[in-house]
Subunit: 198 residues, 2 copies
């Protein structure tokens, strides 16, 4: 296709984005070409600004614009509960539930012997330092319910329990609104094991 080099360059860059294939990239590129200049520049500015002003919170390693992230800096959060997650995006998912009012700690990944990711590659020593200096009564392990996440949770539980701090884990079971028929056997098995008394 003979298209203008500037358009081709934009298409190449758009296609790098996750979930954006050649067709979506083209749709977005033509939308940008059609959009008024201000709209397009606002997007470009927002990208530059996010790279310029966002870094890691020095306490929990969430994304932050100031020294502390909005959650660590908030007086409405309970600092005695720390929820441990793998990535900042997991914080966004938990915040959407509005079911948690404590603070967070971002590990920056999960233990994976297969990929050569060991305890020293995660922010575990930083977590232990927080538990030593802050007044924490509960650590909620919210790593993913997969092999790496479970391994990381087990490792952290063994490390933290001796400190006399309550260690909890996200429940596994059937997704709400789900269908028994379509549940995989591991999930259904876990739901039976963890059955609640009504």
């Amino acid at each position: 296709m003979e298209s203008a080099p500037a358009i081709q360059k934009l298409l190449d860059e758009l296609e790098r984005m996750p979930g954006v294939g050649p067709k979506s990239a083209q749709r977005i590129a033509y939308w940008l070409l059609n959009a008024d200049r201000a709209t397009a520049l606002r997007l470009a500015d927002a990208i530059v600004e996010v790279k310029d002003s966002v870094h890691f919170c020095k306490r929990c390693f969430n994304y932050a614009e100031d020294e502390l992230c909005e959650i660590c800096a908030s007086s409405r959060r309970d600092p005695s509960a720390i929820c441990v997650v793998s990535e900042p995006r997991d914080i966004a998912a938990i915040e959407r539930t509005a079911a948690y009012s404590g603070v967070y700690h971002v590990l920056g990944g999960a233990l994976s012997p297969m990929e050569g990711i060991g305890p020293d590659d995660l922010r575990i020593s930083e977590l232990m330092a927080r538990l030593a200096s802050e007044d924490v009564t509960e650590v909620l392990l919210a790593t993913n319910p997969n092999v790496e996440g479970e391994t990381t949770a087990a490792y952290l539980a063994r490390l933290i329990k001796p400190l006399g701090i309550k260690v909890t884990r996200l429940a596994s079971g059937l997704p709400v609104g789900g269908d028994l028929e379509f549940a995989d056997e591991v999930t259904l098995g876990r739901a039976i094991e963890s059955r609640r008394v009504l």
Copy 2:
């Protein structure tokens, strides 16, 4: 959700893009936060550059960086055939087929009495001026095969035929690789009407 204002601003701008909902916007935002600075800035630059350097080709109204688009400026294209399309993105679709070697004319829409789009809102007078000044032997009407596109094609055919120029229309019929069973009755009816002698 308490997220940094710069991230929220980026999410808002990303969600304006076509085909990008809140979930995709978040995925792209976290990808940008994770990406190295150069990758993110290349995307921002590509957006700015496309708005700065791309405008309409003064002959065919395709997107162009110079006075003429790459197709109008190419010596390998046949200027005696003009393919009339509604939007520049239609040119990209036709170019992908590699089945056409002429030049184009972009109307900038299609006739739509419902939406109040009449002949004066499209680049029809510009097309007629080209037909008067250029040496054109065929006009291929490649507007969409829907009500507005067919109306526009019929209107243009009535206008151009008296000039003694051959006017053609994209064939309608079953999509290649399609299934009779799943074809809608209008398409199948058109395929029967336009049946070819083998």
